[in-house]
Every structure is written in structure tokens, then in C-alpha cells.
């Protein structure tokens, strides 16, 4: 009886140890504990200086023509249309003279 109890205890101990060992974060392949407010996952590698230079060059390509706007509002150059030239041309349509 005593031997049987000892064997059962040893078996239970082995079981508990193996279960706890299976909970190790490096074996799970994921984060198991959290630190409040801290990201603990895999992180993104920062961009290299040459990549950042290329990105800045591409960003400056976005400038395009400044006069392009589709607003109905006024302003110094709110329209892409040359309103003065259009006014002259529309006046030219008048053949009453």
C-alpha cells in the first residue's frame, strides 16, 4: 500500500512538472504574461536611412500643380480655369455689334 502511494505521488509529481513545463512562453510561441501598457510582441525593424531618403523623395513628388482645386469657394487661385481669358472669349461670341 505504501509503495503504491509513493508511486502515485511520484506519477502526480511528474504530471504536474510536465504540465507546468508546457506553459513556458518560449515553448508556446506567444506572449503569456502581460506588462500593463507595454507591447511585448515582435517588433518592426526601423527603416534604413537610404529607405527614408527614397520615401522623402517620393513624398516630394506628390506636390503636383498647386492651382488644382475643385472648390466653389473663392481665393487667390481656387480655380484651374483662367477666368479672365474665358470672359474675353465669351465676350467674343457677341455678334450684335
Amino acid at each position: 500500500m505504501k509503495v503504491r502511494n509513493s508511486l502515485m505521488m511520484a506519477g502526480a509529481l511528474v504530471l504536474v512538472v510536465s504540465v507546468l513545463a508546457g506553459c513556458r512562453a518560449n515553448e508556446q510561441g506567444r506572449v503569456l504574461s502581460f506588462q500593463k501598457g507595454t507591447y511585448l510582441g515582435k517588433s518592426e525593424a526601423p527603416l534604413s536611412d537610404s529607405t527614408l531618403r527614397a520615401l522623402r523623395a517620393r513624398a516630394s513628388n506628390q506636390s503636383g500643380p498647386v492651382e488644382l482645386a475643385f472648390s466653389s469657394r473663392g481665393g487667390a487661385g481656387a480655380s484651374i480655369l483662367d477666368t479672365e481669358a474665358l470672359r474675353k472669349r465669351s465676350a467674343g461670341q457677341n455678334d450684335n455689334n
Binding site: G37, G41, S43, E44, L47, T51, L52, Q62, L68, A69
Partner: protein, 198 residues
């Protein structure tokens, strides 16, 4: 060090939805998810404006603050990314985001929320840069290739600007100076201004 930002010039957006289509195509976005959307205010009325909205990659992102499993982080270049390995799909970030950026695919028969998905500024995610695992989970990593987000590069009227904050603000400043009025940079203040108590 760069600080990546989006700017949508509402004076130029013509609601073509090219940015939405380009984003879906480039990142292989599944049905039911739109990382970017075009919203029209005052549709059909004088003064109608359209704006292209996605994650603005805020300077002090509220989604990072509310995430219960801390799966959202910002990179050294100012891009707000998240780990789909850690996300539990709780939806807190959706309620915190002023732009409604986080999206959740339907997962399971009863429509439970899957892992959060959002705009990554075409910077992939926390997997090896340019790997197939990164593309499958997060979409294309264009920044790693030295390219800007596809939505901005595809914009026909250059209404949507993306890139280093200095470059973007220089371009917009030039336009405002020419126009003579400064409206149009929708969401810029909400996303990038310093919070009063920080």
C-alpha cells in the same frame, strides 16, 4: 527620424474611390473589410466635401492606450501597427478611434469578431519584412521597398498625401498659400496635435 503622416485635402478629393480600390487590391483585403473609405459630407448640396479616411497613425494614438492586451504599438517612424498574434478582437480600439479605422472580419458561424485589421501605412506588421507571412497577415510592406502607401501614390488629384510629416506639411502649405484659405486638412488636428494633458 521620420514621422509618417496622412493628409487628405478635402478641396481636391473628387470621391473617385481610387484609394479604396488600390488599398484593397494591393493588400489583398478580404470581403467585408475596407481599410480606407471615402466619406462625403453634405452630399448633393452646395459646399459638399469628400474625405478619404483610414487609420491616421495618430501621434498619441488612443487605440494603444485602450488595448487590454497591448497588441498595438507605434514604430520609430511613427506608424501605428498591431500584432494579430496578440489581438483578441475585443473591439475596444474601435470605440477609442476617432476615425473608425479598426475593422473586424467575421470569424465563426455566429458572426463573432475576428482579429482586428486596419491600415498599416503599407508598412506590413511585426513579421519579417517582405515575407509571405507578413503579406498574408498584414498586407504589403511598401515602406520597406522605399515606396509610399499605395492610396496616396494612386490618388489622381493628389488629394491624399502621405509621407514624412515635414514633406506633407510643406506641400499643403504651398497649396494653402496659393488658394488663400486653409480649410481641407481634415482630421490633421485630431490625429497629430499634442493632447492638452501630455
Amino acid at each position: 527620424m521620420a514621422r509618417m503622416k496622412f493628409l487628405c485635402d478635402a478641396e481636391r478629393c473628387i470621391e473617385c474611390n481610387g484609394c479604396v480600390t488600390a488599398c484593397k487590391n494591393e493588400n489583398d483585403i478580404p470581403w467585408g473589410i475596407n481599410r480606407r473609405r471615402v466619406v462625403t459630407i453634405g452630399d448633393g448640396k452646395p459646399g459638399e466635401r469628400s474625405i478619404s479616411v483610414a487609420c491616421m497613425h495618430c501621434s498619441d494614438a488612443p487605440c494603444i492606450a485602450v488595448c487590454p492586451v497591448d497588441c498595438i504599438y507605434d514604430t520609430e517612424d511613427g506608424v501605428v501597427l498591431h500584432s494579430k498574434d496578440l489581438c483578441i478582437g475585443c473591439g475596444y480600439c474601435f470605440f477609442a478611434c476617432p476615425f473608425g479605422a479598426p475593422q473586424y472580419p467575421q470569424a465563426g458561424t455566429f458572426g463573432s469578431r475576428g482579429k482586428m485589421d486596419k491600415c498599416t501605412f503599407c508598412n506590413g506588421g511585426p513579421e519579417e519584412d517582405g515575407s509571405s507571412a507578413e503579406f498574408k497577415k498584414y498586407g504589403r510592406n511598401r515602406l520597406y521597398e522605399g515606396k509610399l502607401p499605395i492610396c496616396a501614390e494612386m490618388c489622381a488629384t493628389k488629394a491624399l498625401l502621405a509621407g514624412d510629416g515635414d514633406e506633407v506639411s510643406n506641400i499643403y502649405r504651398e497649396r494653402v498659400t496659393y488658394r488663400g484659405f486653409g480649410s481641407g486638412a481634415w482630421g490633421w488636428g485630431t490625429a497629430y496635435q499634442l493632447k492638452s494633458d501630455s
